[in-house]
C-alpha cells in the first residue's frame, strides 16, 4: 500500500460517513449534476470536437473520418471506432501505456450508447459497397479527472459528432480542406451515471465518490428508450433500485439533451 492509498482510505471513510447522513461533500442533492459546460469546435484541426467540463472533470472528444474497407459481414456499412486515453496528466492514478481495463470499459460503454441508439446511419457512410466506406473514429481524451468520466465522455462524444464536418471525397482521395455538409447524426443519446453508497442512491459521482462507491449504474437513453446500460463496482442493486434509477435517467437525460 502506498501513502496515496492510505490517504484515499481516509477520504473514502469520510465520503461514506457523509452518505450515511444523506449528505455529499460538495453539498449537492442526490440527483443533481455538477455544472456542465460544452465548447464545440475546440480543436479546429479535427473534423469535429467538443470540450466538456463537468464540475472539475475535463474531457475532449475529437472525431476523424477515414476512408477504409468495410467488415466482411457488413459490406454496405461504415464503421465506428471509439477509443479512450486516460492520459497521466489528468490524474496521479493514470499511467501511460496500453489501455487498462477501466479505459476499455469507458470506451465500450460510450460506443454502445452511440451505436445501439442508431445515432449514425452506417449505410449512409458506405461509398462503394464492399470496397470503400467511411470509418468514424472517436477519440476521447481526459485532461482532468474528477469523477464520472462516463457521462462527460458520452456528452463530449455526441456533441462532437453533431458538429462533425464531412470532408470531400474525390477520385479516391479525401480532401480535408474542402468539406461538404455535416456528418448525418440521427439521434442524441446521453448517458447518466448513478451510484450507490450504503443504501443511498446518487447521480454524477465526484472523484471521492467514484473511489468510495459500492456499485455504479450507467444508463444510456434516447427519448423514451433505453439503448445501453452498464453496472460496475463490487456491490449490488436491488430490482427496485434499478427501476428507480431507470425512471430517474429519463428525467435527467432531458437536462443533458438540452445542452446539445
Amino acid at each position: 500500500m502506498t501513502v496515496e492509498d492510505i490517504s484515499w482510505e481516509i477520504k473514502t471513510d469520510y465520503t461514506r460517513h457523509l452518505a450515511k447522513k444523506k449528505m455529499r461533500e460538495d453539498k449537492r442533492k442526490p440527483f443533481e449534476y455538477r455544472k456542465i459546460e460544452l465548447e464545440n469546435g475546440y480543436i479546429p484541426n479535427a473534423l469535429g470536437s467538443t470540450r466538456v467540463r463537468l464540475g472539475k472533470t475535463e474531457v475532449i472528444a475529437g472525431v476523424s473520418l477515414v476512408m477504409g474497407t468495410p467488415y466482411p459481414d457488413k459490406l454496405n456499412a461504415g464503421t465506428l471506432m471509439t477509443s479512450v486515453e486516460l492520459t497521466p496528466i489528468a490524474s496521479p492514478m493514470f499511467e501511460s501505456g496500453p489501455p487498462r481495463p477501466n479505459a476499455v470499459e469507458y470506451a465500450r460503454v460510450v460506443d454502445r450508447g452511440i451505436r445501439e441508439s442508431g445515432t449514425l446511419d452506417f449505410e449512409k457512410l458506405c461509398v462503394t459497397e464492399g470496397e470503400e466506406v467511411w470509418m468514424v473514429i472517436l477519440d476521447l481524451h481526459v485532461l482532468d479527472y474528477n469523477g464520472n468520466l462516463f457521462d462527460a465522455f458520452a456528452l463530449a462524444a455526441i456533441s462532437a459528432l453533431l458538429n462533425t464536418k464531412m470532408p470531400k471525397y474525390e477520385d479516391g482521395k479525401v480532401i480535408r480542406e474542402e468539406t461538404k455538409g455535416k456528418l448525418s447524426v440521427q439521434k442524441k443519446p446521453v448517458e447518466c451515471t448513478f451510484f450507490k453508497i450504503g443504501d443511498m442512491l446518487m447521480l454524477d459521482p465526484s472523484l471521492g465518490e467514484d473511489k468510495a462507491l459500492d456499485a455504479r449504474l450507467t444508463v444510456a437513453t434516447v427519448g423514451d428508450r433505453i439503448c445501453a446500460m452498464q453496472k460496475g463496482g463490487n456491490g449490488s442493486f436491488t430490482m427496485k433500485e434499478i427501476d428507480e434509477l431507470v425512471d430517474m435517467s429519463f428525467k435527467k437525460s432531458k437536462e443533458l439533451t438540452k445542452l446539445l
Binding site: M1, P99, E116, R225, A228, Q230, K231, N234, S236
Partner: protein, 243 residues
C-alpha cells in the same frame, strides 16, 4: 445487435430452435473436472461449452496488488481461437477485457475476499465453443468452480440473458437471435437475495420491455441455481468429480 435482416425469428409463437419465448436452452453443469485447479466446473449451455478453474488463495503476485484488507481477485474470460466460426485471434481483446472486469466485480460480491488478506484468487474461464451468451455461461460456471474450490461464499451467482427479437421479449438469446435481434440484457443475480451484481444492456428497449426482460431472467436464474446446486452435491458424493 442491429444487423438488419428479413429473417423471421419467431414463427407461430415458436423461436428458430422451437423454444417458447421464456424457455432456456438445455444446461448441464459438472463440478470438479480439472486436476490442477483448486476448484473447477464444466458447463454446457445450448451450444456453449465453457470450463472454469479457480486457483487460490495463493501468494499475491505482483506484490503491489496485494491488500491488507482482502484478497486480490482476478477473473479472466478467454475465448479459444477455435471457439467461433472465424478464428479468433488469441489473447485478450477489448471485449474480453470488459467482460473480465465486470465479472470480477460481480464475483467479489459473493466470495468472502476479506477472509484472505494479502493473497490473490484467480478465476479463469475458457470458452471452448461459443454459441451466444458466453459471458453468462462463463460466470455461472465460475461461481460453481469457486464453490468447488471451497472458498467461503455469501451465495452463488447465476447469470442469464434476456433480449428482444421481432418486438418480443425472450429469454436466453441463441446465436442468430443475438446477431439479428433488437436488444440483449445479460444480468447476474444472487439467487437468495435477488441482488443484481452484473447488468449490461444494448439495443433498444422501452422501460416496460426492460422490466419484463429482467423479470424473465430472474425467474430463469432460479432454475439454473438448482442445476448448480445439483452439480456441487454430485461432486461431493462418493465417486463424484475427477479422481
Amino acid at each position: 445487435m442491429g444487423m438488419k435482416s428479413d429473417l423471421k425469428l419467431i414463427k407461430n409463437g415458436k423461436r428458430l430452435d422451437g423454444r417458447k419465448p421464456d424457455e432456456l436452452r438445455p444446461i448441464t453443469i459438472k463440478a470438479g473436472v480439472l486436476d490442477n485447479a483448486n476448484g473447477s466446473a464444466y458447463l454446457e449451455w445450448g451450444g456453449n461449452k465453457v470450463i472454469a478453474g479457480v486457483y487460490g488463495p495463493r501468494e499475491c503476485l505482483p506484490r503491489h496488488r496485494s491488500s491488507p484488507y482482502k484478497a486480490y481477485l482476478t477473473y479472466r474470460y478467454n475465448m479459444a481461437p477455435f471457439s467461433v466460426d472465424d478464428r479468433k485471434r488469441p489473447g485478450p481483446d477489448r471485449r474480453s477485457t470488459e467482460i473480465s472486469k465486470i465479472s470480477a466485480e460481480a464475483l467479489e460480491r459473493v466470495i468472502e475476499v476479506e477472509k484472505f488478506p494479502n493473497t490473490m484468487i484467480n478465476v479463469f474461464v475458457e470458452v471452448l465453443q461459443a454459441d451466444a451468451g458466453t459471458r453468462c455461461a462463463a460466470l455461472t460456471a465460475a461461481a460453481v468452480a469457486a464453490a468447488d474450490a471451497g472458498l467461503p461464499m455469501r451465495d452463488l451467482i447465476v447469470s442469464c440473458a434476456a433480449g428482444k427479437i421481432d418486438d418480443t421479449v425472450v429469454l436466453d438469446l441463441g446465436k442468430k437471435e443475438d446477431n439479428f435481434g433488437q436488444a440483449d440484457v445479460p444480468i447476474a443475480i444472487l439467487p437468495h437475495s435477488e441482488e443484481i451484481v452484473l447488468l449490461q444492456m444494448d439495443g433498444d428497449l422501452t422501460k416496460e420491455e426492460f422490466k419484463e426482460a429482467i423479470d424473465m431472467s430472474v425467474k430463469a436464474a432460479k432454475q439454473i441455481y438448482e442445476l448448480q446446486k445439483k452439480a456441487l452435491t454430485e461432486r461431493f458424493k462418493k465417486g463424484g468429480g475427477k479422481e
